[in-house]
């Protein structure tokens, strides 16, 4: 098993409990230290407090949606500008979202129902294989 995710701190922002559990379990098995947030405000708080190495971000969430969280993290600090963020959502990209994607540069925009967990793991691993920009 690839050890690249060993001990990496991951924040998962996901309001659907079953999905949060599945992702948490999977990435814990990959060696990550996982913290979860069930709404956008909690996600932003936790991100700024914990400064995780990687963030999995849902879009549709209570209190604050994922695209706003993304923008806030990117604008917040130099850590925020560079932290890899994977958007994991079931909302198809529209014009507005694509505009924000171009501006805030998540590492990936993935439709949950299109990807297997092991493929998402691979994409997260890729985030640590890439040279930091």
């Amino acid at each position: 098993m690839d050890q690249i995710l060993s001990d990496k701190k991951m924040l998962i922002a996901e309001d659907e409990p079953a999905m949060l559990s599945a992702l948490t379990d999977k990435f814990k098995r990959e060696g990550c230290v996982v913290v979860g947030a069930k709404d956008g405000e909690a996600a932003l708080d936790l991100a700024n407090k914990e400064k995780p190495d990687i963030i999995l971000l849902d879009i549709i969430m209570p209190k604050m949606n994922g695209m706003d969280v993304l923008a806030a993290i990117r604008a917040g600090s130099s850590w925020g500008k560079n932290v890899p963020i994977v958007i994991l959502t079931n909302v198809s990209p529209n014009e507005k979202i694509m505009g924000e994607v171009v501006k805030d540069e998540p590492s990936y925009y993935l439709i949950k129902s299109d990807w297997k967990l092991y493929e998402i793991v691979e994409k997260v691993q890729n985030c640590f294989r890439k040279p930091a920009v």
Binding site: E95, M98, L117
Partner: protein, 477 residues
């Protein structure tokens, strides 16, 4: 002098009522304006025999003026002559009158035409606004008051910009004035204006310059159709689709991930039967996701709201990638023969759309091909501003009796269902909608039962122009 002149003497009865008059003098214009010849010395009842019935107040009016000396001016339609006149009657000597008159038939006709025109305009529901070359309103139809809350007298004489309070960006109005005034062309666009109460409304507007004989702008005629409601409905539909897509995809995503984790053995070994059952669950779940994505695509295609972003595409890479995925999905290797004409390098296309078309045509070819000796041939070329693609298999083919229906929503031929029970029946319907309705292209096929099928697609190059839509289409494999 352009007016007609007549000098006459009134004839009274015993009671002093005017019953006739004699023309004593008329000028040269009299005949020109009335069409009556040689009237001097004649009574009006001789010259216009029906005057008493057609215009019962005609003679009495002359009588009044001749008696009282008080002038009268009026418009009158003389039916026997089919003409309108404007008459001024004077008297300087009791019993005698002087009549100065103009033929106003033409003006009257124009006024009637205007009335008919206004009636027609008032009956249409679109807003019609006519302005002078500077944008000052000269006419509004009834619909304008209904739509904007402005009464005609609040609007006529004012500059249209001041009324709608110009909510669009400056560049919009600059462009509009350039088209209608500088280029003297018709401007069509979507615009937002403000009602009297401050509310914004959205309209499709067309402004036409009306030119005079010297080709200078005489008026601008603007016709507006209020589409606020339609835009609302569209926006609501789009939002609903986004919400529905999100809600519909959530449970199958959950099912997929948990099944995957069980299948992988990472929670402990599973026996063969368990693995089989999990496979069934996973496959059914994948089917559901494919159906949801197809339905979403179809909704977007039917609403015309999908986006097109043409880029340079590597068709060979797309086909090879898709074939690889299909090979692993169907667990067989298929011989792919490809013939890509170099001309396709120039074809820029939206990769999303091309992927969906290739996915569908290739997966059909795979699904319905024999388990051994399977060859699929792909050809692609650009010719005469069209992009041509064809996919040929040597599989089960489409029976003649079903060929007319393969593009129908949810239709599946019997032999297809036997070969592949999992199909959605939406693939061909969806790509036909994209290709034909969305891009103005064609899709057709040739097939013989048990002897394979060839599907062909043609796309006009111009169809792959940048089109901003609200959402990209979803993948369905």
């Amino acid at each position: 002098m352009l007016d007609g002149l007549a000098y006459g003497q009134v004839i009274y009865d015993e009671r002093g009522e005017a019953i006739d008059y004699i023309y004593l003098q008329v000028n040269k214009n009299f005949e020109k304006l009335t069409g009556l010849k040689d009237v001097i010395g004649k009574k009006v009842t001789e010259v216009v025999t029906d005057i008493g019935t057609s215009n019962p107040d005609w003679i009495p009016a002359h009588g009044r003026v001749a008696t009282t000396g008080k002038p009268e001016r009026f418009e009158e339609y003389i039916a026997p002559l089919s003409k309108w006149f404007f008459i001024s009657l004077y008297s300087t000597q009791k019993g005698f009158f002087i009549s100065v008159f103009q033929n106003i038939t033409e003006r009257k006709q124009m006024e009637k035409n205007m009335e008919d025109f206004k009636l027609a305009l008032d009956n249409i529901s679109d807003n019609v606004i006519i302005t002078d070359p500077e944008g000052v309103v000269v006419y509004v139809n009834k619909a304008v008051e209904k739509a904007t809350g402005y009464k005609p007298d609040e609007v006529i004489g004012k500059k249209s910009g001041a009324l709608w309070k110009t909510p669009m960006p400056l560049a919009y109005y600059q462009n509009m004035w350039n088209v209608i005034k500088a280029q003297k062309k018709v401007f069509v666009g979507e615009i937002q204006n403000r009602r009297k109460n401050g509310e914004l409304y959205t309209a499709i507007i067309s402004i036409s310059p009306v030119l005079d004989a010297k080709s200078d702008v005489e008026f601008f005629v603007s016709i507006e159709r209020d589409v606020t409601k339609e835009r609302e409905v569209e926006r609501a539909k789009n939002e609903f689709l986004s919400l529905a897509s999100h809600q519909l995809r959530t449970p199958p995503s959950i099912i997929g991930w948990y099944t995957e984790m069980l299948q992988s053995g990472e929670l402990g070994p599973i026996n063969e039967k368990q693995a089989d059952y999990l496979k069934e669950i996973y496959a059914a779940n994948k089917r559901m996701i494919a159906i949801i994505n197809s339905l979403l695509n179809i909704s977007r295609i039917e609403m015309g709201t999908f986006a097109i972003s043409p880029k340079e595409i590597d068709l060979k890479a797309i086909v090879d990638e898709t074939a690889k995925e299909l090979s692993s999905q169907f667990k067989r290797t298929i011989i792919m023969k490809a013939d890509y004409d170099p001309s396709i390098k120039s074809f820029k296309a939206d990769p999303n759309i091309i992927q969906i078309v290739i996915d569908n045509l290739l997966s059909n070819a795979f699904k319905y091909s024999p388990p051994e000796n399977t060859t699929i041939e792909i050809t692609a070329r650009v010719e005469n501003d069209f992009f041509f693609l064809s996919v040929k298999d040597n599989g089960i083919g489409i029976p003649a009796k079903d060929q007319a229906r393969v593009f129908e929503k949810l239709f599946r031929a019997d032999n297809a269902i036997s070969a592949n029970p999992d199909g959605t029946g939406l693939g061909l319907y969806m790509i036909k909608k994209v290709i034909v309705d969305g891009l103005g292209g064609k899709i057709w096929f040739a097939s013989d039962e048990n002897n394979g099928t060839t599907f062909s697609v043609s796309l006009p190059i111009s169809s792959m122009n940048e089109k901003t839509g609200t959402t990209a289409l979803s993948q369905t494999l």
